[in-house]
Amino acid sequence: MATGPLTHKWILAVPLILITAGAVVFHKLARPADAAALKAGNSYDVWLAEAEASPTRPDGGQWDMDGSAPDLAGVLVWKGQRVLETVTSPDQLIARWDPVALNLYKVIANGEADTASVRRVGHIRMESDGVVEAGVFDSDLGNVEFVGGFRIPLRSLHLGINQLHGSGMLKSLSVVVEKPGGHQADPEAWRLDAGAEGVSEMTEPPDSMKGAASRFARDITTTAKDALKPLGKDLQEAEQQADDAARKAAGWIQKHIGE
């Protein structure tokens, strides 16, 4: 066996080059670039995961009268219909919502619940010219204010977390898209800026969202009324007791002094 110095040292790099090139090719084959794109005709679950509001209103004022952060609630509209309304996240500049939300009242009233009914997600079907509108409201007692929103072409959305960034009162909004029933363990994150890929920022809520604003206001008012009812009852009882005491005092005075 002849031995001697290796004259073409580059030969030693050949296996490394082969392995690296093979890894790149197989990686692209295993995960094609458009794997995360929404496919026309397929239905998807969409939900709002997170929203961040600016620290102050445009006029520099506080969101709530007591100086606390806003009470944010989200709405998703598809084909002019509200397909999702989140719960209200109280006193948060960064609101987070979970797709699992159990409505105990409905469960008790209906007597049953299935896994689909406790997932608070919107269902959409991908169309090449389809659009979803996502908006966020500040739900206060007696006043519901539109914080901001985005109009997003469906073709701009990807499977995973779509992080929308704006320049208005709504700084960012995360819209999660999943295959029906297919929760992703490590969803990929995609950034969408207002003005790019057809995404536009909304400064006023569309008509289809105004109904949601009314519902938020109604819910807040109902909640306030329910909260004040016991207080009213206590006041009534206190008033009654005061009346009884006054009558007794008047009677005593009339009896002892009036004579």
Partner: protein, 165 residues
């Protein structure tokens, strides 16, 4: 002799490509389950029941970040560094008129026999998970087959070069 050297070159090339596929593609996929309670538990912890895939480099990184540094180093050396070094020596034997030192060739021929250890570990893991309660399911991924093929082809290339020389 020239024909054998060409055959060894082809075997080494394919082994390198299979090795790269074994590094990138998943070695096995695991689907957790909790028996009849799966839908209810999935409702409150959906992420726990997603299908999980494992690659060899990913597994080594997980061991490293999990504090199993020694195990990660051993696995990384045997599964990543030694095969690349072995392919380099095989190429050297096939293409260069000068031959690598005999000690180096003998060392890699001995070490190559133990390259199937990872495949054995994967097989044992599959058996272990199949025996777990709740119906958890595990399946061997394309990466395992690719890695096995690279080991077998590497052994074959080594044998062909030994006979050629």
């Amino acid at each position: 002799m020239r024909r054998r050297r060409l055959l060894a070159t082809c075997l080494t090339t394919v082994a390198c490509l299979c090795f790269s596929a074994g590094m990138v593609l998943p070695m096995f996929k695991m689907q957790a389950a909790a028996g009849h309670w799966t839908p209810l538990v999935k409702l409150f912890a959906p992420g726990e029941f997603d299908e999980r895939t494992f690659t060899l480099p990913g597994g080594i990184l997980t061991l490293w970040s999990g504090g199993e540094v020694i195990l990660a180093c051993i696995l990384g050396t045997i599964s990543l560094i030694l095969p690349v070094a072995k392919f380099t020596v095989l190429w050297w034997e096939c293409l260069a008129p000068e031959h690598p030192p005999t000690r180096v060739v003998v060392f890699f021929r001995i070490v190559s026999r133990y390259s199937m250890v990872e495949v054995l570990l994967i097989a044992l893991t599959v058996l272990l998970v199949k025996g777990m309660p709740g119906g958890s399911h595990i399946s061997v991924g394309a990466g395992t087959y690719a890695f096995t093929a690279s080991v077998i082809l590497g052994l074959a290339a080594g044998e062909v070069t030994r006979r050629a020389l």
